[in-house]
């Protein structure tokens, strides 16, 4: 499944991992993927496919959800990371933007962003500068900088979560559904930011995304996950042309985009695996 030729410059490698929640719920049934250095890799799939779980398995946030990687390994820079705590992974350069916002409610917007620089030994001025950068990406946040994050709107919280991760100047960002709840033009903007960071700073991205359309436009490579298994992978451009992907993930039929009003007929969906 993996392109063997690329293996040496893979920054992050996930080998055949299995994840169990609460000792009984088997969620990932052998997932392997690799993220090349300096690439944007997309992880696609429907609800409950296991995207979030995969990302958490990488960033070691599973423990706090009573989940466990029972098989397989995760390598970062060729070294296993399963036994490191999430904080040290962040120091090593891997940061995750969690799905569903997860802001620090009682902290102000600005304090939230500043927590992102917790692991950095940067000077005050540098951090100040990065803060301005984030504000320039999300002017809305600057406006609300002194309000408690718990009282900001859904989209604003999403911006905080992304901005916070940017503040840590990571080598690799695991983005879980960055576009969720954002206005259309902001979605484009976020992906533009991703692209810029990737191209200018060489930041590596692994993004789990439901918005397949945008994701495949910006990603270099994509994996499609279903029911805890990778069912398809390939360069983004190829995936975009795949008829199944087109139908189920891009909402295109042969006649072009369908209207949401026209899909009212009941229809069983075809699955690769189930």
């Amino acid at each position: 499944m993996l392109d063997a030729g690329k293996a040496q410059d893979n920054l992050l490698e996930v080998n055949n991992i299995e994840v169990i929640y609460n000792h009984v719920i088997l969620v990932l049934k052998g997932v392997s993927l690799s993220v090349p250095k300096g690439g944007i890799t997309a992880l696609l799939g429907g609800n409950g496919a296991g995207k979030t779980t995969t990302l958490k398995a990488i960033s070691n946030l599973l423990h706090s959800e009573r989940g466990e990687v029972t098989k397989g390994s995760v390598l970062y820079h060729g070294k296993t990371v399963q036994h490191r705590d999430p904080a040290s992974l962040v120091k090593a350069g891997v940061i995750q933007v969690m799905e569903g916002r997860h802001c620090f409610e009682h902290l102000t917007v600005e304090e939230n962003l500043l927590t992102g620089s917790y692991t950095r030994a940067a000077s005050r001025a540098e951090i100040e500068q990065d803060l301005e950068l984030v504000y320039s990406y999300f002017p809305r946040l600057k406006l609300r900088r002194k309000s408690q994050a718990g009282y900001t709107s859904g989209g604003e919280q999403q911006m905080i979560a992304i901005g916070r991760a940017l503040m840590s100047r990571p080598e690799t960002i695991l983005l879980d559904e960055p576009s969720m709840g954002l206005a259309p033009q902001l979605v484009e903007e976020i992906f533009t930011i991703v692209k810029n960071l990737n191209e200018e700073e060489g930041t590596t991205f692994l993004l789990a995304e439901q918005n397949t359309n945008v994701a495949l436009r910006y990603a270099h490579y994509g994996y499609i996950l279903e029911s805890g298994r990778i069912v398809m992978d390939g360069p983004a451009a190829e995936l975009r042309e795949n008829p199944d992907v087109k139908e189920f993930y891009l909402g295109m039929s042969d006649e072009g985009r369908k209207s949401f009003r026209d899909v009212r007929s009941y229809r069983r969906r075809k699955r690769w695996l189930s």
Partner: protein, 358 residues
Amino acid sequence: MLYREAGDFKTSYEEDSQTFPIRFDRLAYHGALVVAFAIVPFFINDYWANAVALPFLIYAIAAIGLNILVGFCGQVSLGTGGFMAVGAYATYKLMTAFPEVNIFFHVLIAGGITALVGMLFGLPSLRIKGFYLAVATLAAQFFLVWLFNRVPWFYNHSASGQISAPERTVIGVPVTGPHTEAWATYLFCLVFLAGSALIARNLTRGATGRKWMAIRDMDIAAEIIGVNPLRAKLSAFAVSSFFIGIAGALFFSVYLGAVEVGEAFGINKSFLVLFMVIIGGLGRIFGSLAGAAFLVLLPVLLKNTLVGTLGWPTDLAAHLEIMIVGALIVIFLVAEPHGLAQLWRITKEKLRLWPFPH
């Protein structure tokens, strides 16, 4: 497959919402009832009744009550001791004022009185939440204890402020006072426990229970979908206090026979019952029983092992005992934060999958 659930198909919603949907569980439950009601009474002696059975039954009632408040409605209360005292003093007053009425009704009315007091102290829960509320309920605890200690009317002006239960009978068999038989007190409390568990189960599986749980899980959302928070919280306080009041009444009249409020219904009692609820599992009726059993039995067991079997000095044993209880609480929580009931459930889930992992 040790534990079967497959093959149990329900054909009506009524069947589906019954307490033990799985046949194996249902059998076990009926078996337990038969043993508890028809077999244990023949074997129980004074030691087992007074040292183990009565405290277990009574604490289980209190734990069910508190579980309704904390586990189902999410309102943490540390006033349990005070509310038990209300139940105890109410029965005492009733027993001495209306000696001709059956004690069974005294206990029930005492529960009702406690329910009213509970609602009164539940009023602040509309504004105060979380640990703030927990600490605020301590006001009830301390105030009630002070009140019963201070106002002589409550203890019929006895010289020392202690209250002691006179002898009362149920169908001619004494259940309070010095001349009780182990089996009689046991059965009397068991009836109340069985009744409490049944009522608690009925309330929590229906609309009321859902209201409580909705408030517990997210009170704002609950209000937006149509739950009146005032009524939901106060009803939880009322029902919970009702059971706690019954437990207090039995604790005083049947189990101890004489109590002094500060000693018997102090803050420690509040904590003890809360531990039972959490260790057993929040929001599980079965958890309350398990928690009560755990915290009543464990110390007795430890003591008997350390002192009786191993022959250690009692003070060493006592220190070790409390260390072990503490350590076990932590170990259980680390193993399964949602209590013994959840541990049991997961074990069942594993059994169901056995011998195939996953």
